[in-house]
Protein backbone atom coordinates (compact mmCIF):
# COMPACT_ATOMS: atom_id res chain seq x y z
CA UNK A 1 0.00 0.00 0.00
CA UNK A 2 1.11 3.55 -0.64
CA UNK A 3 0.84 6.37 1.87
CA UNK A 4 1.71 9.83 0.60
CA UNK A 5 3.52 8.22 -2.30
CA UNK A 6 5.66 6.10 0.00
CA UNK A 7 5.45 2.34 -0.52
CA UNK A 8 4.80 0.64 2.82
CA UNK A 9 6.55 -2.73 3.19
CA UNK A 10 4.15 -5.63 2.73
CA UNK A 11 4.25 -6.96 6.26
CA UNK A 12 4.41 -3.63 8.05
CA UNK A 13 0.77 -3.84 9.02
CA UNK A 14 1.82 -6.44 11.57
CA UNK A 15 3.16 -3.54 13.61
CA UNK A 16 -0.34 -2.12 13.69
CA UNK A 17 -1.76 -5.44 14.83
CA UNK A 18 0.98 -5.71 17.45
CA UNK A 19 -0.07 -2.33 18.81
CA UNK A 20 -3.68 -3.45 18.93
CA UNK A 21 -2.57 -6.54 20.85
CA UNK A 22 -0.64 -4.36 23.32
CA UNK A 23 -3.69 -2.18 23.87
CA UNK A 24 -6.04 -5.12 24.38
CA UNK A 25 -3.51 -6.65 26.74
CA UNK A 26 -3.05 -3.44 28.72
CA UNK A 27 -6.80 -2.98 28.95
CA UNK A 28 -6.89 -6.34 30.70
CA UNK A 29 -9.84 -7.67 28.69
CA UNK A 30 -9.02 -11.25 29.61
CA UNK A 31 -6.18 -12.90 31.46
CA UNK A 32 -5.18 -15.01 28.47
CA UNK A 33 -4.18 -12.02 26.40
CA UNK A 34 -1.28 -10.42 28.25
CA UNK A 35 0.24 -7.28 26.73
CA UNK A 36 2.66 -7.94 23.89
CA UNK A 37 5.47 -6.17 25.69
CA UNK A 38 5.15 -8.56 28.65
CA UNK A 39 5.19 -11.50 26.28
CA UNK A 40 8.30 -10.20 24.58
CA UNK A 41 9.96 -9.69 27.92
CA UNK A 42 9.08 -13.25 28.96
CA UNK A 43 10.42 -14.48 25.65
CA UNK A 44 13.65 -12.66 26.39
CA UNK A 45 13.95 -14.34 29.77
CA UNK A 46 13.16 -17.89 28.63
CA UNK A 47 14.83 -17.99 25.26
CA UNK A 48 18.26 -18.87 26.61
CA UNK A 49 17.15 -21.43 29.22
CA UNK A 50 18.23 -25.02 28.60
CA UNK A 51 14.61 -26.23 28.65
CA UNK A 52 13.70 -23.81 25.90
CA UNK A 53 16.77 -24.54 23.83
CA UNK A 54 16.10 -28.25 24.17
CA UNK A 55 12.46 -27.86 23.12
CA UNK A 56 13.48 -25.68 20.24
CA UNK A 57 16.12 -28.09 19.00
CA UNK A 58 13.75 -31.07 19.33
CA UNK A 59 11.09 -29.24 17.38
CA UNK A 60 13.50 -27.96 14.78
CA UNK A 61 14.99 -31.42 14.39
CA UNK A 62 11.64 -33.11 13.81
CA UNK A 63 10.56 -30.30 11.53
CA UNK A 64 13.71 -30.20 9.43
CA UNK A 65 13.98 -33.96 9.05
CA UNK A 66 10.26 -34.23 8.32
CA UNK A 67 10.24 -31.51 5.71
CA UNK A 68 13.46 -32.73 4.19
CA UNK A 69 12.12 -36.23 3.67
CA UNK A 70 8.86 -34.82 2.34
CA UNK A 71 10.79 -32.85 -0.27
CA UNK A 72 13.26 -35.57 -1.13
CA UNK A 73 10.53 -38.16 -1.58
CA UNK A 74 7.73 -35.91 -2.75
CA UNK A 75 9.39 -34.07 -5.62
CA UNK A 76 10.70 -37.12 -7.53
CA UNK A 77 7.49 -39.05 -6.92
CA UNK A 78 5.46 -36.11 -8.19
CA UNK A 79 7.63 -35.71 -11.26
CA UNK A 80 7.46 -39.43 -12.02
CA UNK A 81 3.67 -39.37 -11.60
CA UNK A 82 3.49 -36.49 -14.02
CA UNK A 83 5.53 -38.45 -16.54
CA UNK A 84 4.11 -41.93 -16.22
CA UNK A 85 0.43 -42.46 -16.74
CA UNK A 86 0.39 -45.89 -15.09
CA UNK A 87 2.12 -44.70 -11.94
CA UNK A 88 -0.16 -41.71 -11.88
CA UNK A 89 -3.31 -43.75 -12.09
CA UNK A 90 -2.10 -46.08 -9.36
CA UNK A 91 -1.01 -43.40 -6.93
CA UNK A 92 -3.18 -40.36 -7.62
CA UNK A 93 -6.29 -41.57 -5.75
CA UNK A 94 -4.20 -42.15 -2.65
CA UNK A 95 -2.42 -38.86 -2.88
CA UNK A 96 -5.78 -37.12 -3.14
CA UNK A 97 -7.16 -39.11 -0.24
CA UNK A 98 -4.24 -38.32 2.00
CA UNK A 99 -4.24 -34.70 0.96
CA UNK A 100 -7.85 -34.30 2.01
CA UNK A 101 -8.02 -36.84 4.81
CA UNK A 102 -8.06 -35.51 8.35
CA UNK A 103 -4.54 -36.64 9.17
CA UNK A 104 -5.16 -35.93 12.82
CA UNK A 105 -7.40 -38.95 12.88
CA UNK A 106 -4.61 -40.99 11.39
CA UNK A 107 -2.08 -40.04 14.03
CA UNK A 108 -3.05 -42.89 16.37
CA UNK A 109 -2.59 -45.36 13.51
CA UNK A 110 0.78 -43.92 12.67
CA UNK A 111 1.95 -44.42 16.19
CA UNK A 112 1.13 -48.07 16.06
CA UNK A 113 2.72 -48.54 12.68
CA UNK A 114 5.82 -46.44 13.07
CA UNK A 115 6.45 -46.42 16.73
CA UNK A 116 6.16 -43.74 19.33
CA UNK A 117 8.48 -40.90 19.94
CA UNK A 118 10.53 -38.90 17.54
CA UNK A 119 10.09 -41.22 14.58
CA UNK A 120 6.32 -40.87 14.56
CA UNK A 121 6.51 -37.12 14.99
CA UNK A 122 8.82 -36.88 12.02
CA UNK A 123 6.50 -39.08 9.99
CA UNK A 124 3.50 -36.98 10.99
CA UNK A 125 5.35 -33.89 9.88
CA UNK A 126 6.26 -35.55 6.61
CA UNK A 127 2.69 -36.69 6.04
CA UNK A 128 1.35 -33.20 6.58
CA UNK A 129 3.76 -31.80 4.02
CA UNK A 130 4.31 -34.45 1.38
CA UNK A 131 0.99 -34.77 -0.44
CA UNK A 132 0.74 -31.21 -1.60
CA UNK A 133 4.38 -31.36 -2.68
CA UNK A 134 3.69 -34.47 -4.75
CA UNK A 135 0.55 -33.00 -6.25
CA UNK A 136 2.18 -29.72 -7.15
CA UNK A 137 5.27 -31.32 -8.66
CA UNK A 138 2.99 -33.53 -10.69
CA UNK A 139 0.93 -30.56 -11.84
CA UNK A 140 4.13 -28.76 -12.75
CA UNK A 141 5.24 -31.61 -14.95
CA UNK A 142 1.81 -32.17 -16.46
CA UNK A 143 1.58 -28.62 -17.73
CA UNK A 144 5.04 -28.74 -19.24
CA UNK A 145 5.18 -27.57 -22.80
CA UNK A 146 5.50 -30.74 -24.86
CA UNK A 147 7.64 -28.85 -27.33
CA UNK A 148 10.35 -28.42 -24.71
CA UNK A 149 10.54 -32.18 -24.29
CA UNK A 150 10.53 -32.69 -28.04
CA UNK A 151 13.16 -30.01 -28.43
CA UNK A 152 15.48 -31.65 -25.91
CA UNK A 153 14.99 -35.02 -27.58
CA UNK A 154 15.62 -33.62 -31.03
CA UNK A 155 18.94 -32.28 -29.81
CA UNK A 156 19.80 -35.68 -28.40
CA UNK A 157 19.15 -35.26 -24.66
CA UNK A 158 19.62 -38.35 -22.48
CA UNK A 159 16.82 -39.22 -20.00
CA UNK A 160 18.97 -37.82 -17.17
CA UNK A 161 19.54 -34.61 -19.11
CA UNK A 162 15.83 -34.36 -19.75
CA UNK A 163 15.02 -34.87 -16.08
CA UNK A 164 17.46 -32.33 -14.70
CA UNK A 165 17.56 -29.81 -17.53
CA UNK A 166 13.91 -29.80 -18.55
CA UNK A 167 11.38 -31.45 -16.22
CA UNK A 168 12.81 -30.18 -12.96
CA UNK A 169 13.16 -26.61 -14.14
CA UNK A 170 9.84 -26.54 -15.93
CA UNK A 171 8.08 -27.73 -12.81
CA UNK A 172 10.12 -25.58 -10.42
CA UNK A 173 7.55 -22.82 -9.85
CA UNK A 174 4.91 -25.38 -8.89
CA UNK A 175 7.41 -27.38 -6.86
CA UNK A 176 8.37 -24.33 -4.84
CA UNK A 177 4.71 -23.40 -4.37
CA UNK A 178 4.04 -26.92 -3.14
CA UNK A 179 6.98 -26.83 -0.76
CA UNK A 180 5.81 -23.52 0.65
CA UNK A 181 2.32 -24.82 1.41
CA UNK A 182 3.87 -28.07 2.59
CA UNK A 183 6.18 -26.30 5.02
CA UNK A 184 3.29 -24.36 6.50
CA UNK A 185 1.34 -27.56 6.92
CA UNK A 186 4.41 -29.19 8.42
CA UNK A 187 4.48 -26.61 11.22
CA UNK A 188 0.99 -27.73 12.14
CA UNK A 189 2.02 -31.34 11.74
CA UNK A 190 5.01 -31.12 14.03
CA UNK A 191 2.97 -29.49 16.80
CA UNK A 192 0.07 -31.90 16.38
CA UNK A 193 2.57 -34.73 16.52
CA UNK A 194 4.17 -33.32 19.63
CA UNK A 195 0.81 -32.95 21.31
CA UNK A 196 -0.97 -36.10 20.21
CA UNK A 197 1.93 -38.54 20.21
CA UNK A 198 4.73 -38.00 22.63
CA UNK A 199 4.95 -34.75 24.39
CA UNK A 200 8.27 -33.20 23.55
CA UNK A 201 9.59 -29.96 22.16
CA UNK A 202 7.34 -26.97 21.79
CA UNK A 203 4.30 -29.21 22.13
CA UNK A 204 5.42 -30.05 25.66
CA UNK A 205 5.93 -26.38 26.45
CA UNK A 206 2.47 -25.50 25.16
CA UNK A 207 0.91 -28.26 27.21
CA UNK A 208 2.84 -27.28 30.31
CA UNK A 209 2.17 -23.56 30.03
CA UNK A 210 -1.48 -23.87 29.19
CA UNK A 211 -2.32 -26.36 31.93
CA UNK A 212 -0.53 -24.12 34.38
CA UNK A 213 -2.02 -20.91 32.99
CA UNK A 214 1.36 -19.38 32.24
CA UNK A 215 -0.05 -17.19 29.50
CA UNK A 216 2.99 -15.03 28.89
CA UNK A 217 5.14 -18.09 28.43
CA UNK A 218 2.51 -19.61 26.19
CA UNK A 219 2.39 -16.62 23.88
CA UNK A 220 6.15 -16.34 23.89
CA UNK A 221 6.53 -19.85 22.47
CA UNK A 222 3.74 -19.18 20.02
CA UNK A 223 5.52 -16.08 18.80
CA UNK A 224 8.69 -18.05 18.18
CA UNK A 225 6.74 -20.62 16.23
CA UNK A 226 4.95 -17.98 14.17
CA UNK A 227 8.22 -16.31 13.43
CA UNK A 228 9.72 -19.60 12.35
CA UNK A 229 6.84 -20.52 10.03
CA UNK A 230 6.61 -17.01 8.74
CA UNK A 231 10.28 -16.71 7.92
CA UNK A 232 10.44 -19.99 6.09
CA UNK A 233 7.29 -19.34 4.14
CA UNK A 234 8.42 -15.85 3.16
CA UNK A 235 11.80 -17.21 2.16
CA UNK A 236 10.16 -19.72 -0.12
CA UNK A 237 7.77 -17.09 -1.41
CA UNK A 238 10.82 -15.04 -2.29
CA UNK A 239 12.33 -17.95 -4.20
CA UNK A 240 9.00 -18.44 -5.91
CA UNK A 241 8.97 -14.84 -7.02
CA UNK A 242 12.47 -15.32 -8.38
CA UNK A 243 11.24 -17.99 -10.76
CA UNK A 244 7.79 -16.55 -11.35
CA UNK A 245 9.10 -14.58 -14.30
CA UNK A 246 8.87 -17.68 -16.37
CA UNK A 247 5.95 -19.35 -14.63
CA UNK A 248 3.31 -17.88 -16.90
CA UNK A 249 5.38 -18.30 -20.03
CA UNK A 250 6.23 -21.99 -20.14
Amino acid sequence: MKVYGYQLPAMSSLILWGLLWEIVGRAGVTFFIPPLSDVLYTLYTVIGTPAFVKAMSETAYAFVVGVFSAVVIGVPVGILMGKSRLLDELLLPWVNIFLSAPLTALVPVLMVLFGFGMKSIIITTTLFAIWIIILNSRAGVMQINRSLVDMARSFGASPMDAFFKIYFWAALPEILGGIRIGVIRAVKGVIIGQLLISIVGFGALFELYSTNFLMKHFWAVLLVLFAMAFTISELLAYLERRVSYYAAKR
Partner: protein, 253 residues
Protein backbone atom coordinates in the same frame (compact mmCIF):
# COMPACT_ATOMS: atom_id res chain seq x y z
CA UNK B 1 -10.32 -45.93 -20.90
CA UNK B 2 -12.87 -45.44 -18.17
CA UNK B 3 -12.81 -49.13 -17.40
CA UNK B 4 -9.03 -49.14 -17.20
CA UNK B 5 -8.95 -46.27 -14.72
CA UNK B 6 -11.58 -47.91 -12.51
CA UNK B 7 -9.65 -51.15 -12.71
CA UNK B 8 -6.46 -49.42 -11.65
CA UNK B 9 -8.25 -47.73 -8.77
CA UNK B 10 -9.59 -51.08 -7.60
CA UNK B 11 -6.15 -52.61 -7.99
CA UNK B 12 -4.43 -49.95 -5.94
CA UNK B 13 -7.16 -50.21 -3.29
CA UNK B 14 -6.69 -53.97 -3.19
CA UNK B 15 -2.94 -53.56 -2.71
CA UNK B 16 -3.32 -51.11 0.17
CA UNK B 17 -6.10 -52.99 1.96
CA UNK B 18 -4.27 -56.24 1.42
CA UNK B 19 -1.15 -54.79 3.01
CA UNK B 20 -3.28 -53.62 5.93
CA UNK B 21 -4.81 -57.07 6.35
CA UNK B 22 -1.41 -58.72 6.31
CA UNK B 23 0.10 -56.19 8.72
CA UNK B 24 -2.84 -56.81 11.05
CA UNK B 25 -2.38 -60.58 10.86
CA UNK B 26 1.35 -60.59 11.63
CA UNK B 27 0.48 -58.57 13.86
CA UNK B 28 2.66 -55.46 13.86
CA UNK B 29 1.14 -54.61 17.21
CA UNK B 30 -1.51 -55.89 19.61
CA UNK B 31 -3.16 -52.53 19.08
CA UNK B 32 -3.37 -52.92 15.30
CA UNK B 33 -6.43 -54.78 14.02
CA UNK B 34 -6.76 -56.36 10.61
CA UNK B 35 -8.65 -54.75 7.76
CA UNK B 36 -11.45 -57.30 7.98
CA UNK B 37 -11.85 -56.87 11.74
CA UNK B 38 -12.07 -53.13 11.27
CA UNK B 39 -14.62 -53.45 8.49
CA UNK B 40 -16.80 -55.76 10.51
CA UNK B 41 -16.59 -53.29 13.39
CA UNK B 42 -17.64 -50.59 10.95
CA UNK B 43 -20.60 -52.67 9.87
CA UNK B 44 -21.57 -53.24 13.51
CA UNK B 45 -21.31 -49.53 14.25
CA UNK B 46 -23.44 -48.80 11.20
CA UNK B 47 -26.07 -51.38 12.04
CA UNK B 48 -26.26 -50.16 15.62
CA UNK B 49 -26.68 -46.66 14.26
CA UNK B 50 -23.85 -45.41 16.48
CA UNK B 51 -22.03 -44.03 13.50
CA UNK B 52 -25.00 -41.94 12.40
CA UNK B 53 -25.58 -40.30 15.74
CA UNK B 54 -21.84 -39.69 15.95
CA UNK B 55 -21.75 -37.99 12.58
CA UNK B 56 -24.81 -35.95 13.39
CA UNK B 57 -22.67 -34.56 16.19
CA UNK B 58 -19.40 -34.20 14.27
CA UNK B 59 -20.91 -32.65 11.19
CA UNK B 60 -22.53 -29.82 13.14
CA UNK B 61 -19.38 -27.78 13.81
CA UNK B 62 -17.87 -28.95 10.56
CA UNK B 63 -20.71 -27.85 8.32
CA UNK B 64 -21.31 -24.60 10.16
CA UNK B 65 -17.60 -23.85 10.21
CA UNK B 66 -17.05 -24.72 6.59
CA UNK B 67 -20.00 -22.64 5.43
CA UNK B 68 -18.84 -19.67 7.46
CA UNK B 69 -15.28 -20.08 6.20
CA UNK B 70 -16.37 -20.47 2.60
CA UNK B 71 -18.70 -17.49 2.52
CA UNK B 72 -16.60 -15.20 4.69
CA UNK B 73 -13.33 -16.49 3.25
CA UNK B 74 -14.27 -15.97 -0.38
CA UNK B 75 -15.81 -12.59 0.44
CA UNK B 76 -12.75 -11.43 2.34
CA UNK B 77 -10.49 -12.90 -0.30
CA UNK B 78 -12.26 -10.94 -3.02
CA UNK B 79 -12.01 -7.80 -0.98
CA UNK B 80 -8.34 -8.29 -0.20
CA UNK B 81 -7.63 -9.12 -3.82
CA UNK B 82 -9.40 -6.02 -5.07
CA UNK B 83 -8.17 -3.44 -2.58
CA UNK B 84 -4.52 -2.71 -1.93
CA UNK B 85 -5.43 -1.24 1.46
CA UNK B 86 -7.16 -4.36 2.63
CA UNK B 87 -4.38 -6.45 1.24
CA UNK B 88 -1.84 -4.53 3.29
CA UNK B 89 -3.92 -4.66 6.43
CA UNK B 90 -5.26 -8.21 6.42
CA UNK B 91 -2.99 -10.43 4.31
CA UNK B 92 -0.33 -10.74 7.01
CA UNK B 93 -2.97 -11.78 9.52
CA UNK B 94 -4.05 -14.68 7.37
CA UNK B 95 -0.50 -15.63 6.54
CA UNK B 96 0.22 -15.78 10.26
CA UNK B 97 -3.03 -17.62 10.88
CA UNK B 98 -2.19 -20.14 8.20
CA UNK B 99 0.92 -21.17 10.04
CA UNK B 100 -0.80 -21.14 13.41
CA UNK B 101 -0.22 -24.39 15.28
CA UNK B 102 -3.88 -24.74 16.09
CA UNK B 103 -3.50 -27.74 18.31
CA UNK B 104 -1.63 -25.53 20.73
CA UNK B 105 -4.22 -22.78 20.57
CA UNK B 106 -7.11 -24.99 21.55
CA UNK B 107 -6.72 -24.45 25.30
CA UNK B 108 -6.99 -20.71 24.68
CA UNK B 109 -10.10 -21.18 22.63
CA UNK B 110 -11.64 -23.26 25.35
CA UNK B 111 -10.91 -20.51 27.80
CA UNK B 112 -12.42 -17.92 25.52
CA UNK B 113 -15.38 -19.73 24.04
CA UNK B 114 -15.98 -22.62 26.35
CA UNK B 115 -16.51 -26.20 25.41
CA UNK B 116 -19.58 -25.90 23.28
CA UNK B 117 -20.26 -25.66 19.61
CA UNK B 118 -18.77 -22.16 19.39
CA UNK B 119 -15.22 -23.27 20.13
CA UNK B 120 -15.43 -26.13 17.70
CA UNK B 121 -16.81 -23.96 14.93
CA UNK B 122 -14.03 -21.56 15.72
CA UNK B 123 -11.42 -24.29 15.41
CA UNK B 124 -12.83 -25.34 12.05
CA UNK B 125 -12.86 -21.74 10.84
CA UNK B 126 -9.31 -21.01 11.94
CA UNK B 127 -8.14 -24.09 10.12
CA UNK B 128 -10.18 -23.60 6.98
CA UNK B 129 -10.30 -19.87 6.44
CA UNK B 130 -6.69 -18.76 5.78
CA UNK B 131 -6.10 -20.97 2.78
CA UNK B 132 -9.48 -19.99 1.30
CA UNK B 133 -8.80 -16.30 1.80
CA UNK B 134 -5.24 -16.43 0.52
CA UNK B 135 -6.08 -18.51 -2.52
CA UNK B 136 -9.01 -16.31 -3.43
CA UNK B 137 -7.15 -13.06 -3.03
CA UNK B 138 -4.17 -14.36 -4.96
CA UNK B 139 -6.36 -15.56 -7.80
CA UNK B 140 -8.27 -12.30 -7.91
CA UNK B 141 -5.07 -10.32 -8.05
CA UNK B 142 -3.75 -12.51 -10.83
CA UNK B 143 -6.81 -12.35 -13.06
CA UNK B 144 -5.30 -11.81 -16.50
CA UNK B 145 -5.75 -8.16 -17.32
CA UNK B 146 -6.77 -8.97 -20.91
CA UNK B 147 -10.06 -10.35 -19.64
CA UNK B 148 -10.76 -7.28 -17.55
CA UNK B 149 -9.79 -5.03 -20.42
CA UNK B 150 -11.97 -6.93 -22.85
CA UNK B 151 -14.95 -6.73 -20.52
CA UNK B 152 -14.43 -3.02 -20.02
CA UNK B 153 -14.26 -2.44 -23.74
CA UNK B 154 -17.65 -4.13 -23.99
CA UNK B 155 -18.96 -1.79 -21.30
CA UNK B 156 -18.97 -4.06 -18.27
CA UNK B 157 -19.85 -2.47 -14.94
CA UNK B 158 -17.60 -3.07 -11.91
CA UNK B 159 -20.17 -5.61 -10.74
CA UNK B 160 -20.13 -7.40 -14.09
CA UNK B 161 -16.36 -7.53 -13.99
CA UNK B 162 -16.38 -9.11 -10.55
CA UNK B 163 -19.12 -11.64 -11.21
CA UNK B 164 -18.64 -12.43 -14.88
CA UNK B 165 -14.89 -12.18 -15.22
CA UNK B 166 -12.93 -12.19 -11.98
CA UNK B 167 -14.82 -14.91 -10.16
CA UNK B 168 -15.00 -17.37 -13.06
CA UNK B 169 -11.37 -16.71 -13.92
CA UNK B 170 -10.33 -17.23 -10.33
CA UNK B 171 -12.62 -20.20 -9.79
CA UNK B 172 -10.10 -23.01 -10.26
CA UNK B 173 -7.83 -21.52 -7.62
CA UNK B 174 -10.76 -20.59 -5.39
CA UNK B 175 -11.97 -24.17 -5.60
CA UNK B 176 -8.59 -25.61 -4.86
CA UNK B 177 -8.53 -23.26 -1.87
CA UNK B 178 -11.94 -24.55 -0.85
CA UNK B 179 -10.69 -28.09 -1.19
CA UNK B 180 -7.67 -27.49 0.99
CA UNK B 181 -9.84 -25.42 3.33
CA UNK B 182 -12.42 -28.14 3.76
CA UNK B 183 -9.78 -30.74 4.32
CA UNK B 184 -8.23 -28.47 6.93
CA UNK B 185 -11.72 -28.02 8.37
CA UNK B 186 -12.00 -31.77 8.78
CA UNK B 187 -8.67 -31.79 10.59
CA UNK B 188 -9.98 -29.01 12.80
CA UNK B 189 -13.23 -30.83 13.55
CA UNK B 190 -11.39 -34.00 14.54
CA UNK B 191 -8.81 -32.08 16.50
CA UNK B 192 -11.50 -30.29 18.43
CA UNK B 193 -13.16 -33.59 19.21
CA UNK B 194 -9.91 -35.05 20.39
CA UNK B 195 -8.74 -32.02 22.34
CA UNK B 196 -11.82 -30.05 23.42
CA UNK B 197 -14.67 -32.40 24.06
CA UNK B 198 -14.85 -35.93 22.77
CA UNK B 199 -18.18 -36.04 20.99
CA UNK B 200 -19.22 -37.64 17.74
CA UNK B 201 -16.58 -39.57 15.88
CA UNK B 202 -13.82 -38.25 18.11
CA UNK B 203 -15.69 -39.85 20.98
CA UNK B 204 -15.84 -43.22 19.22
CA UNK B 205 -12.10 -43.00 18.64
CA UNK B 206 -11.16 -42.05 22.19
CA UNK B 207 -13.70 -44.30 23.86
CA UNK B 208 -12.89 -47.41 21.89
CA UNK B 209 -9.25 -46.69 22.50
CA UNK B 210 -9.79 -46.40 26.23
CA UNK B 211 -11.60 -49.74 26.31
CA UNK B 212 -9.00 -51.24 23.95
CA UNK B 213 -11.62 -51.91 21.27
CA UNK B 214 -9.15 -51.21 18.49
CA UNK B 215 -11.23 -52.46 15.54
CA UNK B 216 -13.94 -49.91 16.34
CA UNK B 217 -11.35 -47.21 16.67
CA UNK B 218 -9.96 -47.99 13.23
CA UNK B 219 -13.44 -48.27 11.82
CA UNK B 220 -14.18 -44.75 13.02
CA UNK B 221 -10.93 -43.42 11.55
CA UNK B 222 -11.65 -45.19 8.29
CA UNK B 223 -15.15 -43.75 8.12
CA UNK B 224 -14.02 -40.17 8.69
CA UNK B 225 -11.44 -40.43 5.92
CA UNK B 226 -14.06 -41.92 3.66
CA UNK B 227 -16.40 -39.06 4.47
CA UNK B 228 -13.76 -36.41 3.81
CA UNK B 229 -12.96 -37.97 0.46
CA UNK B 230 -16.64 -38.18 -0.50
CA UNK B 231 -17.18 -34.57 0.51
CA UNK B 232 -14.33 -33.41 -1.67
CA UNK B 233 -15.48 -35.47 -4.62
CA UNK B 234 -18.86 -33.80 -4.42
CA UNK B 235 -17.10 -30.46 -4.39
CA UNK B 236 -15.14 -31.42 -7.46
CA UNK B 237 -18.34 -32.43 -9.26
CA UNK B 238 -19.86 -29.09 -8.31
CA UNK B 239 -16.87 -27.25 -9.71
CA UNK B 240 -16.98 -29.18 -12.96
CA UNK B 241 -20.67 -28.50 -13.21
CA UNK B 242 -20.39 -24.77 -12.53
CA UNK B 243 -17.31 -24.03 -14.60
CA UNK B 244 -17.24 -26.69 -17.24
CA UNK B 245 -14.90 -24.88 -19.61
CA UNK B 246 -12.20 -24.62 -16.97
CA UNK B 247 -11.66 -28.35 -17.10
CA UNK B 248 -8.94 -28.81 -19.68
CA UNK B 249 -8.37 -32.52 -19.11
CA UNK B 250 -5.12 -34.44 -19.10
CA UNK B 251 -2.34 -32.22 -20.39
CA UNK B 252 -0.18 -35.16 -21.37
CA UNK B 253 -2.74 -36.85 -23.61
Amino acid sequence: MLKRSILLKLLSAAIVFGAWEIAGRIPVSYAFPTFLESMSALITLTLEGTIFTAYAETLKPLVVGVIISAVLGIGLGLWIGLSAKFDWLFSPIFIVMQSAPLAALIPLLVMAYGIGLTSKVFVVCIMAMPVIVLNTSGAVRNTPSVFKEMARSFLASERDIIFKVIIPAASPIIFSGLRLGISAGFIGAILSELKITPTGVGDIITYSRSIADYPSMYAAIFSIILLAVLFLNVLEKLENYLFEGNNRGYASD
